[in-house]
């Protein structure tokens, strides 16, 4: 069986929310835009979260990356409060994502 390639996308929210809240909001938005089948094929998973920085690293199938970006961008509310979710960076490994986030000077994650 062919292995499905994955990508890790780091999202932050404005104002800051917990990683699990960001993940749930992105997941709900993805489902709203692309349906249950789309959500299943994207294979979304909260790979890592940073509570203090309000950053969620979400793993998804390579093919679904543009959809994940759009799903994140489509979030306008988290927990009934006005919010924006923005993609910070993307990579094939969590290690590289952390490195890129550090380069963006958003906290010292490693």
């Amino acid at each position: 069986m062919k292995r499905v390639k994955k990508r890790y996308v780091a999202f932050s929210s404005e104002p800051k929310f917990s990683p699990i809240e960001i993940f749930r909001a992105v997941q709900a938005s993805y489902r709203e835009l692309f349906g249950l089948t789309g959500l299943a094929s994207a294979d979304l998973k909260l790979a890592k979260g940073y509570q203090e920085e309000g950053i969620a690293i979400i793993r998804c199938a390579l093919k679904s990356v543009p959809r994940l970006f759009l799903a994140g961008a489509a979030v306008t509310k988290i927990g009934g409060e006005r919010a924006a979710v923005r993609a910070l960076t993307m990579s094939g490994t969590i290690k590289k994502v952390k490195k890129k986030i550090n380069a963006l000077k958003i906290g010292g994650l490693i």
């Binding site: 404005e14 709203e32 835009l33 543009p66 959809r67 970006f69 759009l70 994140g72 961008a73 489509a74 306008t76 006005r82 919010a83 924006a84 923005r86 993609a87």
Partner: protein
Amino acid sequence: MRRFIDFWVKGESLEQAVGLLKKLKELGFHSAVIEPSSDLLEGFEELRSEADRIGVKIYRKLVIEPSGRGDLLRALRKNRGSFEVITVLCRNLEAALVAARDSRVDSLIIPPNPEFRFDKGVASLIKNSVELPFNHFLEDKLSFLRTALRIVSILGRKVDIIVSSGASDPLELRGPMELASLVQVLGYSQEKALDAVSKVPESILEENLVKLSKRYVARGVLRIDEEG
């Protein structure tokens, strides 16, 4: 390297516009096209110096929402020389047909659920770029996607498409990759999608800056004697 441009942000006051520009810089934009309110238009040079300090280039934009042909032509005649970008929000077929062909118009916005039939006949007349504002998507996702899908499928190969934020609040701003993902999801390749937030608006701005300069005489004719 690509220079990303947000082709539509709404400036209501100096403080609000500076807040937007700071956020745009943070998101990785090189330039922004601002639709200033009448108050902000008067103090636009002050905003420009603030923008230089922040590190974002800014340009003026006029968004016209004409009721008909005459209305549109009057607005174009009056304002073409004062704004770097003119966009027409097409609420009716008459305005859309004129705006689609007039070379003084830089981009068209076809609102979600237009009150006119947008088919291949209308599409065949369009020569100007079509703009998809992200705030329209945030307001009504289903209607926007329905209209945007039609635009991309009918016009995608024929005319250039631009994605802008249309934001008046920092929370409505999105990064260039996120704006590009909108057309990528609708069927564009990654390169072409990124062009919609970089090369396409950049070429419009370059062309219009030449037209607004004192050296411009007519299409294809530039005065070069002044600089020697």
